[in-house]
C-alpha cells in the first residue's frame, strides 16, 4: 500500500522530460533553475510553465552527486547531556530556520561520548560526503574537535570560544559572557546593591573565569569593590541546597549573581525554602534567559543569548567555507543583552 503511489505514477518528471515538454535542452531547464539570468526571458517563461505543468522538482540525490555537495550540515551533539535546562532546543531551531534561508538543512547527529569518538564520527560523515560541514553547538576547555575538523578541511563553526588556545585558527562564534555579567553588575549597582555575591562552578581557565571576572569588573567600574569572600564555588546546582544557606548567613549578600539559570533557579528554590524569610530578600540573577528564567517566580533577571544572530553568523561563515570562498576564519564575540524581570 504505502509506496505504491511512487510506482503507479507514470514516471517521475526529470530535467529531460521537462526539457522535452518545453522544447529546449535539459541544460536550459537546469539554467532556469540555477542561473535564470543566463536564459532569455521568453524561454525562461516557457520553461517555467512546463515545470509547473508537470510539477517538476529537482532530485536532491542527483544534485548532490553532480555538485559533490549535499547541502546538509551536521548538528553534532554528544550522547550525554549535561545541562539541566536546554538551550539546545531553541538553538537548533534557530539554526535550522536560518539554514533553510541559505539553502542548507540540518542533520541531527547524536554520537560519541568524548572528543575522540565524536571525531571518529566526523571522519565517517565527511568521508561518505554525508554532510558539507559541521556545527558544534558547545565547546569545552581543551576541545579537540574544531581543530581536527579545520585541519582536515571540513567546514566548521563552533558555538563557543577555544578558551585554551585563543589564537586557534578555526571559526567560532561566542557570546561575550564577561560583557553580560557587566550588564548584570551595572543593573544591580543601579538598584542599590553593594553586597553582591557570585555563585557558580570554580575557575576552569575558561568560561567560569570569564563570567566571574565580568561581574567583578562591572562592579568595580560602578564603584563597588567586590569582596572575594562573596563567592560560592559549587560544581553543581544541586549542591546549593546544602551550601547556600550558610553562605548567605556568613556573607549577607543582597544579590546573588549566578553563573546560569540552572544555578539561579536552584538558588531561588533554596531562598524560598528558608523559614521566616522572603524570597525577595535577596535578588537573584541568571544567565541564558532560558525557559526556566521565564517561568520561575520571582522572575529571573537574566542575560539573553542572541541565538538568531548567532545562527546568522554561523551560516554565513559555514556557507562561505563550504563554497570555498572563506577568506579568513570567523571569530566573533557577540554582546548579549540583559533581560530585566522585576520582582512583581
Amino acid at each position: 500500500m504505502v509506496g505504491a503511489a511512487a510506482r503507479d505514477v507514470p514516471r517521475r518528471a526529470t530535467l529531460h522530460s521537462v526539457a522535452a515538454a518545453a522544447g529546449v535542452s535539459h541544460q536550459t531547464v537546469s539554467n532556469v533553475l540555477n542561473a535564470p539570468d543566463r536564459v532569455r526571458p521568453e524561454t525562461r517563461a516557457r520553461v517555467l510553465q512546463a515545470i509547473n505543468a508537470v510539477g517538476y522538482r529537482p532530485d536532491e540525490a542527483g544534485r548532490a552527486l553532480a555538485r559533490r555537495s549535499s547541502r546538509l550540515v551536521s548538528f553534532h551533539v554528544g550522547v550525554e547531556r549535561h545541562d539541566r535546562v536546554s538551550m539546545l532546543d531553541d538553538f537548533a531551531r534557530a539554526l535550522a530556520r536560518v539554514g533553510d534561508a541559505h539553502g542548507y538543512r540540518l542533520v541531527l547527529d547524536v554520537a560519541g561520548r568524548d572528543d575522540a569518538e565524536q571525531i571518529a564520527s566526523f571522519e565517517d560523515l565527511t568521508a561518505r560526503r554525508a554532510v558539507d560541514g559541521v556545527v558544534i553547538p558547545a565547546t569545552h576547555v581543551g576541545d579537540r574537535r574544531p581543530g581536527w575538523l579545520t585541519a582536515h578541511g571540513v567546514p566548521v563553526v563552533a558555538f563557543g570560544r577555544p578558551w585554551h588556545e585563543p589564537a586557534a585558527p578555526h571559526s567560532w562564534v561566542d557570546v561575550d559572557g564577561r560583557h553580560g555579567m557587566r550588564l548584570v553588575a551595572e543593573h544591580l549597582v543601579a538598584a542599590g546593591h553593594t553586597r553582591v555575591a557570585y555563585v557558580g562552578p570554580p575557575p576552569d581557565g575558561g568560561m567560569e573565569d570569564d563570567r566571574m571576572a565580568g561581574l567583578v569588573d562591572g562592579l568595580r567600574d560602578h564603584g563597588v569593590v567586590h569582596d572575594p569572600r562573596l563567592v560560592l564555588p559549587v560544581a553543581d546546582p544541586d549542591a546549593l541546597r546544602d551550601r547556600l544557606p550558610a553562605f548567605l548567613d556568613a556573607g549577607r549578600p543582597t544579590a546573588l549573581v549566578c553563573r546560569d539559570d540552572s544555578f539561579a533557579f536552584e538558588a531561588v528554590q533554596v531562598l524560598a525554602g528558608r523559614p521566616g524569610r522572603q524570597v525577595e530578600d535577596v535578588t537573584v540573577t541568571g544567565f541564558d534567559d532560558s525557559r526556566l528564567a521565564r517561568v520561575v517566580r520571582p522572575g529571573l533577571t537574566s542575560v539573553a543569548q542572541p541565538l538568531d544572530q548567532v545562527a546568522e553568523l554561523i551560516w554565513s561563515s559555514l556557507v562561505a567555507q563550504i563554497e570555498g570562498r572563506a577568506q579568513q576564519p570567523l571569530q566573533r564575540l557577540i554582546r548579549p543583552r540583559l533581560v530585566v524581570r522585576p520582582t512583581p
Copy 2:
C-alpha cells in the same frame, strides 16, 4: 585554505579504485559492503583489506541516487513553539540515536505556521526526494498532516493519536495518558488522599478529556468518587496565579493533579507563595517527567513518557514503510510509568 584538502588529495577512493586495488570488479566491492554473504570469504577478506588500505567510504549521494532513497527522515516541527517545557529535545535525541542504529538519519525541518503550510513543505521535500519519510512529533485535534502524507504514499509515523478520527489509517504511536493518570490516582489514593483536584485545559475532545477521564476513572477504581467541582479548567499555566488560590480555598483539595509538568510547576510556585501555608500542604503531580519536574522543589511526582520505546516503535514502522514491507499501519498506545518523588 579551507577545502584545499579535498583538492590536494590525489583522488577520492571509489568503488572502482578499490576494485582495481583488490583485483575484482566494482560490483564485488559493492557486494562486500551490502551483501557480504554473496561473496566468497577469501575474496571478501581481500576486498576488505583494500577498503581499509585506501580508507574507502561509500559516497552517500551516489547511493541515494542509485537506490532512490536518501536514508534521511524529516523531523518536522512548526515555526512556533507552544510548550513551555520542551520534550522535543529529549525526543529528538532519542529518535536520532535509534535511527542511527537503523541506518537512517534525522533532518530537522522547521517550517510552516499551520497544517497547510507544513503540508506544502512535505510536498516539496518528498517531490525532491530529500527525505524518505516523516516523523510528526506532536499532533493536534483535527490534524490533517498524517492523513495527507499517508494518502500521498509518504511514509510517516506520528507521535500522537488521531483523536478526531480514531480509525484513521496512518501510523502513530502515543502514550496512554489515561493509564498514566490512573497510576497517579492509584498513587494518591494509596497515600490517603480523597479530595483530589484536576488542573488543566478544558475538554477539547482529545487529550484533555483523556487525561482527566483517567484520573476520574482511577479514583473510582480505588473507591474515591471524584467531586466534579474539583476541576480547575485553565487554558494556560500562567492563569493559575490568579485563579488557583481561590480554587484551593473553595474546594480544599489535598492533592492537585496537573495535566502536565508546566501546570504542575506553576501550581507549586503558587502554593509556595501562599502566606502562612506550606507548599507541602497540597501534593502536586505532573505529567511528562520533564526536566522541570526533576529540578523543582518539592520534587514532582510525574508520569514518564518512555521516549526510547516510542523512538524504537516509530523507526520500526517507518523503516518498514520506506522499504515497502509495511503490512499494516502501526497504531500503538504505550503505557507510561509513574515516577514518584517523595517530598523530602
